[in-house]
C-alpha cells in the first residue's frame, strides 16, 4: 500500500535528519527510544510529524512559541553574584510525551502519597503517634523550623491540612518512576506548566489539534472548585503572595488573572475580631480562603518569624479560631524535609497497611547508627546533604551546602558520628533522558517531572501534564533552572479522543458564583502613583525636549532662555547632559509601582512601560545634545503616548482605572501650576511662553484660538482656564472631581467624601479666576489645593 510506503520513507527521513546523533547514555532509560533504538509507540506520531518538518519550518515554529513567551512577559528570577535579575523563560520546545495508561498508574501512586502526607502532617500537628511508636525520630521534627509550634493542636477549618501538592519525580534505569521530593509548603509551577502548554501548542498547533492530548484546563476547574468550597457567603478567595521580589511572582500574577482571584500581600490583610479581612478601597472585606504562596514562617510576625516584613499580625490566631482556610495549612512545609523520605516507606506500611505504590529515592538519616553504617559502606553511591532541606539531590552545590560539607580534618565516619543528626544520605539518582532540540538535532537530556495534585470531593486528582525540567547538558545537575536548565511541556497522550475543554467557563458541580473584583487599597495606591510618576516622567521628557530643540536652534548654551530652562530642569534633578538621573529615577518609580499591580493591567500596557524604561537609558546615552537628542526624546514621548493610549482604550473602567487617571490628572495639573508660574512670568526671558505651550502640548490649540504671538493672558487662558482643553488646569480639575464622585462609596451617604469635597472647592475656585487674576501666588495656592486632594485620597482609600 502506498500509505505504508510513505510512512517508511518518513521514518527513514526522520531517522537520518533528526535522530542522527540521538544516543541515550548507557544504562539510562530514554523517554523517546527503547533499548533497541526503536521509537516508543507513544512518541511515534509526533516523531513522524517532526520528521516532516524542514529546518526552516522548525525555526519558524520555535520562534512562534518564543514570541508568545516574550509577549506574555513570562520570566523567572535568577539569583547570581550581582543580585537577582529577570531571565527569559527557557522553554525547550520539544514536549515530553507519556501515555495516559502510564499516567493513570502514576496518578494512583501519587494520590496514595497525597493521602499519606495528609495523615503524616495531621499526626505531626496532632497526636504524634509516629513518634510514640518509633516510626519517626522526634529530634527531626523538633529541630525542623518548618514544624510550627504555634500551630500544634490546631485543626484546620476544612478538616484537611493539604489541598494542593506537587511531586518531583524522575524515572530510574529500570523504567520505574521515583519520588525525589514532596512539595507541600506552597507548590509552584502549575501556572508555568500552563504557560509552557500555551507556548508549545503554538509551536505545534497543527499537530496538537488532532492528537489526543489531555487538556490542562480541567485541573484548574477542579482547583477553583476546591477554593470555592472553602468560601461561605461573602468571603473572598485570594492568593497570598510574598510580592514582586520572589522568584515565582510572575506565576502568582498569571494565576490570579487566570483564576480571577485577588492577588494579596501580607500588608493587604488585617485581622479584626478574629477574622481575616482585606483592606480595599471599599473598606475591610472578609477573606475565607488564602492560596498561600508565602512560606509559612513569614505569614505572621506576631507568632511566627518576628523579622518577617511580609506577613499579617494575628493570622495564626485567626487560623486557630478557624475563621480562615489555608491552601495549604500553615506548617505543611515540614513534609518537605528530605530526611522524611527515609521513614515514609515504613510509615506508609504502618499507617495504611500497604506499601508505597511509587518508591521515593532511597534515603538514610545519619542520626541513626545502622543508617550511618550503611552510608559509610556505600559512600560512592551516596549524596550527603542537610537532613531538613528540601533540595533535590542534583540541586545541592557547594554554595548552598555550606555547613553541611565534611570538614577536611574529619574522616567520613567521625563526621557522620558527630553531625549525623543534621545529615541525610540519598542514593545517587540516574535520571531518564528526553529529547531536546539542539543544533538542528534531537539530543537526549536528563528529565525531572513536577506533577501537581489537587484535593477534590472525590479524592486527589493529578494535572494530566506537568512541569518538566530538562538539562542543558548530560549532567543531572544541569537540570536546575538556576544552572541554566530548560523547561518543557508534558503531553499525556490518549489512544482515544479527549475532552477538549480549555476555558474555565465550563459549568461545574459547585454553585456558580459571579466573582466580584474588589480593589485592594495597596493596588489603588500603586495605580495612583503609577499615574503620578508616569506623568511626571513625561513632563521631564517634554522639558528636556524643549531644551534640546532650542539648543539646536540657538546653539549657544549660554542663551538666557536655555539657562532659564535648565534651572527649571535642575529642580527635577535633571541636568541637560546625557545622564538625566532624575528622569531615569522617575521612570523607574513608575515602573516600580506598575510591577506591584501587574495583574491589574494588560500585558501590552506593561510592555509599553518597560519599553520606555529600557529605551530612555539607551537613547539618551548615544545621542548628541541638540536636535539629535530632541528627536530621541520625541520618540520616547511617542512611547508614553502609547502607554496613555492603552490606558484609555484598553483598560476596564474599574475603580483601579479611576485611581490611575486621578493620579495622572492630579500630577498634570500640579505640573502645569508650577510650569505656568515659572514660564508665564512677566520677567521670563523671551520665548518662555512658547516653552510652556509646548509643555502643555497646546501649541496648535493656542494657534487656532488666538492666531497671534503668545502673550501671558492667552497662555493662561489656554493652559489654565480653558474648559475644553484636556491639558488645562480647569479641565483636569473637572475630570478629577468627576472621577472622585464615581469612586466606590463616594455618594452613598448623599455626602461628598473629603477628597471629592476638596476637588469641588478647587473647581469653583478655578472657575472664578480671570487670566489677569491667576498670578503666581494664585497658581501656587491652586497647587497646594491639589496636593491636599492627593493626601485626602491617600487617607480615604489607601490606609
Amino acid at each position: 500500500m502506498p500509505q505504508t510506503q510513505t510512512m517508511q520513507q518518513l521514518d527513514l527521513e526522520f531517522a537520518t535528519h533528526l535522530l542522527a546523533g540521538y544516543r541515550p547514555p548507557a544504562g539510562v532509560q530514554d523517554e523517546l527510544m527503547d533499548s533497541m533504538g526503536e521509537v516508543r509507540p507513544v512518541w511515534r506520531d509526533f516523531a513522524h510529524f517532526l520528521g516532516r518538518l524542514t529546518p526552516e519550518d522548525t525555526g519558524l515554529r520555535f520562534a512562534r512559541g518564543d514570541q508568545y513567551l516574550r509577549d506574555s512577559g513570562v520570566y523567572f528570577r535568577r539569583y547570581g553574584q550581582n543580585g537577582a535579575d529577570a531571565r527569559e523563560w527557557p522553554l525547550s520546545h520539544i514536549p515530553v510525551l507519556l501515555s495516559d495508561k502510564e499516567w493513570t498508574g502514576l496518578g494512583a501512586a501519587l494520590a496514595q502519597r497525597s493521602e499519606l502526607l495528609e495523615a503524616v502532617v495531621a499526626d505531626l500537628y496532632g497526636d504524634n503517634r509516629m513518634i510514640a511508636e518509633g516510626w519517626l525520630p522526634p529530634s527531626l521534627v523538633a529541630a525542623n523550623p518548618e514544624w510550627l509550634r504555634p500551630m500544634v493542636g490546631v485543626k484546620p477549618r476544612s478538616g484537611h491540612f493539604l489541598h494542593m501538592l506537587a511531586f518531583e519525580i524522575g524515572r530510574g534505569p529500570d523504567g520505574r518512576w521515583w519520588v525525589m521530593g514532596d512539595r507541600a509548603q506552597a507548590p509552584s509551577g502549575a501556572g508555568f506548566a500552563l504557560e509552557n502548554r500555551v507556548a508549545t501548542r503554538r509551536v505545534f498547533s497543527d499537530f496538537f489539534a488532532h492528537a489526543n492530548i489531555h487538556r490542562l484546563a480541567g485541573f484548574f476547574t477542579q482547583f477553583q472548585n476546591m477554593l470555592s468550597a472553602h468560601t461561605n457567603g461573602d468571603g473572598q478567595a485570594a492568593i497570598l503572595s510574598p510580592g514582586p521580589f520572589t522568584d515565582t511572582y510572575y506565576e502568582h500574577v498569571y494565576l490570579a488573572r487566570y483564576l480571577s482571584l485577588m492577588l494579596l500581600e501580607g500588608e493587604d490583610l488585617a485581622v479584626v475580631d478574629g477574622r481575616v479581612m482585606v483592606r480595599t478601597v471599599e473598606g475591610l472585606r472578609p477573606v475565607d480562603v488564602l492560596w498561600r504562596r508565602l512560606d509559612s514562617a513569614y505569614a505572621d510576625p506576631l507568632e511566627l518569624n518576628e523579622q518577617s516584613q511580609l506577613g499579617t499580625p494575628g493570622l495564626a490566631g485567626a487560623i486557630r479560631r478557624g475563621t480562615v482556610s489555608m491552601v495549604n495549612a500553615l506548617g505543611s512545609g515540614v513534609l518537605e524535609m528530605n530526611a522524611l523520605q527515609a521513614f515514609l516507606p515504613r510509615i506508609c506500611e504502618n499507617l495504611r497497611g500497604e506499601p508505597l505504590l511509587m518508591p521515593n529515592v532511597a534515603t538514610w538519616w545519619c542520626g541513626e547508627k545502622n543508617a550511618r553504617q550503611h552510608v559509610l559502606a556505600n559512600l560512592d553511591r551516596m549524596m550527603i546533604g542537610p537532613a531538613l532541606s528540601n533540595r533535590l539531590p542534583f540541586e545541592i552545590s557547594s554554595e548552598n551546602n555550606a555547613g553541611y560539607e565534611r570538614p577536611p580534618h574529619l574522616a567520613h565516619d567521625a563526621w557522620l558520628e558527630a553531625h549525623g543528626e543534621k545529615l541525610v544520605a540519598q542514593e545517587l539518582v540516574t535520571l531518564s533522558t528526553t529529547p531536546a532540540f539542539q543544533n538542528g538535532q534531537l539530543t537526549p537530556r536528563p528529565l525531572v517531572l513536577r506533577v501537581f495534585a489537587v484535593r477534590t470531593r472525590r479524592g486527589w486528582r493529578m494535572m494530566p501534564g506537568g512541569f518538566a525540567r530538562v538539562g542543558r547538558s548530560e549532567s543531572p545537575s544541569a537540570i536546575a533552572m538556576q544552572n541554566g536548565g530548560a523547561v518543557a511541556d508534558v503531553w499525556v497522550v490518549s489512544e482515544n479522543s479527549v475532552d477538549t475543554q480549555t476555558s474555565l467557563m465550563e459549568p461545574s458541580d459547585s454553585t456558580p458564583r459571579q466573582r466580584e473584583t474588589v480593589l485592594t487599597s495597596r493596588s489603588a495606591d500603586n495605580l495612583f502613583w503609577l499615574g503620578r510618576y508616569s506623568v511626571r516622567a513625561e513632563g521631564m521628557l517634554r522639558l528636556l525636549r524643549c531644551y534640546h530643540t532650542r539648543l539646536g536652534e540657538i546653539s549657544d548654551s549660554e542663551a538666557p532662555l536655555l539657562n532659564y530652562i535648565s534651572s527649571q530642569l535642575a529642580r527635577y534633578g535633571v541636568g541637560p547632559g546625557v545622564q538625566p538621573v532624575g528622569l531615569i529615577n522617575g521612570i523607574n518609580a513608575a515602573l516600580g509601582c506598575a510591577a506591584k499591580v501587574r495583574e491589574q493591567f494588560s500585558i501590552d500596557g506593561w510592555a509599553a512601560l518597560s519599553d520606555i524604561a529600557t529605551n530612555t537609558r539607551e537613547l539618551l546615552s548615544t545621542r548628541e545634545p541638540g536636535y539629535e537628542t530632541a528627536r530621541a526624546l520625541g520618540e520616547l514621548l511617542q512611547k508614553t503616548a502609547t502607554f496613555s493610549g492603552l490606558v484609555q482604550e484598553n483598560m476596564f473602567r474599574s475603580p483601579g482605572w479611576r485611581f490611575l487617571n486621578i493620579g495622572r490628572q492630579l500630577e498634570r495639573a500640579m505640573l502645569m501650576c508650577v510650569s505656568l508660574s515659572y514660564f508665564a512670568e512677566a520677567n521670563a526671558p523671551q520665548g518662555a511662553f512658547d516653552v510652556v505651550l509646548e509643555l502643555g502640548d497646546s501649541v496648535l490649540t493656542h494657534r487656532r484660538r488666538f492666531s497671534l504671538e503668545a502673550r501671558r493672558n492667552t497662555v493662561i487662558g489656554v493652559l489654565a482656564l480653558e474648559q475644553n482643553n484636556p491639558q488645562s488646569i480647569h479641565f483636569l480639575i473637572d475630570e478629577i472631581y468627576d472621577h472622585l464622585r464615581r469612586l466606590p462609596g463616594a455618594d452613598t451617604q448623599g455626602q461628598l467624601t473629603p477628597p471629592a469635597f476638596a476637588a469641588k472647592q478647587a473647581r469653583s475656585e478655578i472657575a472664578a479666576y480671570k487670566a489677569d487674576t491667576l498670578d503666581s501666588k494664585a497658581l501656587s495656592r491652586l497647587h497646594d489645593q491639589l496636593a491636599e486632594i492627593s493626601s485626602l485620597i491617600d487617607s480615604a482609600y489607601f490606609r
Binding site: 504524634n128 513518634i131 510514640a132 518509633g134 522526634p138 529530634s139 521534627v141 523538633a142 529541630a143 509550634r149 504555634p150 500544634v152 485581622v271 479584626v272 475580631d273 478574629g274 510576625p301 506576631l302 507568632e303 518569624n305 518576628e306 499580625p313 494575628g314 490566631g317 486557630r320 490606609r799
Partner: protein, 293 residues
C-alpha cells in the same frame, strides 16, 4: 513564700501608632508543686478593642490584645499575688554527659518537656564553637549533668560582668559572650548555647526575682526588671532543674516563673511592639515584695 508583684512596662513611640496587635506573656504561671497564683490582673492601655487568652505550645498563658485607638504610648500593668512553694534542694541523680545521649534517644514521648525540643538551635540561640569550647573547659572528668550545669553557671557568673548598658534586647548571645558583659537575658542565652553545644537540653525561663533580699542575704542582680534564668534537663530520672547563671545560684523560693520556652523569642513579655517609623523608648519597673517575711 507569698509575693505581691507589680510590673509596669511602657513603650513611648516617636510617631503616632494607628493600631497595634500584641501578645503578652507577663502574668505569673500557675505551676502545680512550684507556685500558685492567688490573684492576677493585667491592665493594658490604651484599652484594647479585642482581648483574648490562650495557652501556647510551651504551656504559657498568652494574652492577645488588639488596639485600634491611635496612640503614642503603650502600657501594660500587672498586679499579682503568688505563693511560691519552698522545695528541698534537689538530690543529684543525673547521668554523665556520655550517658545522657542514650537517655535522650530513649525518650520516645513528644510532650512539651520532651528534651528534643531544647537541643536544636532556636530562633535566638545557635550553638557556636567558642561557647561550646568554653563550656567544655569548665568540665571535670566524670561530672554529672547537674554538676556540669552548676560549673558552667558559676563560670559565667565569674567571667561575665552584669552590665545593663552593655547590651540590648536584640544583642546576639555570641556578641555578649565575646564582650563578657550583659544582663540576665544574655547570661541565660549564653548558658543555653553552652549546654546545647555539649548535647544537654536547655530552656529559657522568664520571671521575677524578689526585690528586697531576705534578711542577712545579698541583693540579687536583675531584681529591678523582669528576670531570666536557665532550665536544664538533667536526665530522665532527675528531670528539669533551673539555674540562675546571673547570680550563680539554683532557682528556689526567690524566683517566680512567668513563662518558659526555648529562648527569649518564645517568652518575650510583650510582642508586636512597633519598630518601624521611629524608635521607641521603653520603661520597665518591677516590684516583688515578700509578704510573709
Amino acid at each position: 513564700m507569698l509575693y505581691d508583684i507589680r510590673v509596669r512596662i511602657a513603650y513611648q513611640y516617636e510617631t503616632l501608632a494607628a493600631a497595634g496587635r500584641h501578645i503578652l506573656r507577663l502574668t505569673p504561671a500557675a505551676l502545680p508543686r512550684e507556685q500558685a497564683v492567688l490573684a492576677s490582673s493585667l491592665d493594658i492601655h490604651p484599652e484594647p478593642r479585642e482581648r483574648s487568652g490562650f495557652i501556647d505550645f510551651f504551656g504559657n498563658q498568652a494574652i492577645e490584645a488588639a488596639i485600634s485607638t491611635p496612640h503614642m504610648r503603650f502600657e501594660a500593668l500587672l498586679h499579682a499575688r503568688v505563693e511560691r512553694l519552698i522545695l528541698p534542694p534537689p538530690q543529684d541523680a543525673s547521668p554523665s554527659l556520655a550517658e545522657l545521649r542514650a537517655d535522650i534517644a530513649n525518650y520516645a514521648a513528644f510532650d512539651l518537656w520532651a528534651p528534643h525540643h531544647y537541643l536544636a538551635d532556636s530562633p535566638l540561640v545557635a550553638v557556636q564553637d567558642v561557647m561550646t569550647d568554653y563550656a567544655r573547659a569548665q568540665l571535670a572528668p566524670d561530672m554529672s549533668i547537674f554538676q556540669a550545669a552548676n560549673a558552667i553557671a558559676r563560670a559565667l557568673h565569674r567571667d561575665m560582668q552584669f552590665d545593663p548598658d552593655a547590651t540590648t534586647v536584640e544583642t546576639p548571645p555570641l556578641e555578649a559572650f565575646t564582650r563578657r558583659r550583659g544582663v540576665c537575658q544574655d547570661f541565660t542565652h549564653i548558658m543555653i548555647a553552652c549546654l546545647r553545644g555539649l548535647g544537654v537540653p536547655a530552656a529559657y525561663v522568664s520571671g521575677f526575682l524578689r526585690t528586697i533580699p531576705a534578711p542577712g542575704q545579698a541583693r540579687l542582680d536583675g531584681a529591678d526588671a523582669m528576670h531570666a534564668w536557665t532550665r536544664v534537663w538533667c536526665g530522665s530520672s532527675m528531670g528539669w532543674i533551673e539555674f540562675d547563671p546571673t547570680n550563680a545560684i539554683l532557682v528556689a523560693a526567690d524566683h517566680v516563673v512567668a513563662a518558659r520556652g526555648r529562648d527569649y523569642s518564645d517568652v518575650a513579655p510583650i510582642k508586636g511592639v512597633l519598630r518601624a517609623g521611629g524608635s521607641q523608648d521603653s520603661l520597665q519597673s518591677v516590684d516583688v515584695v515578700a509578704l510573709d517575711q
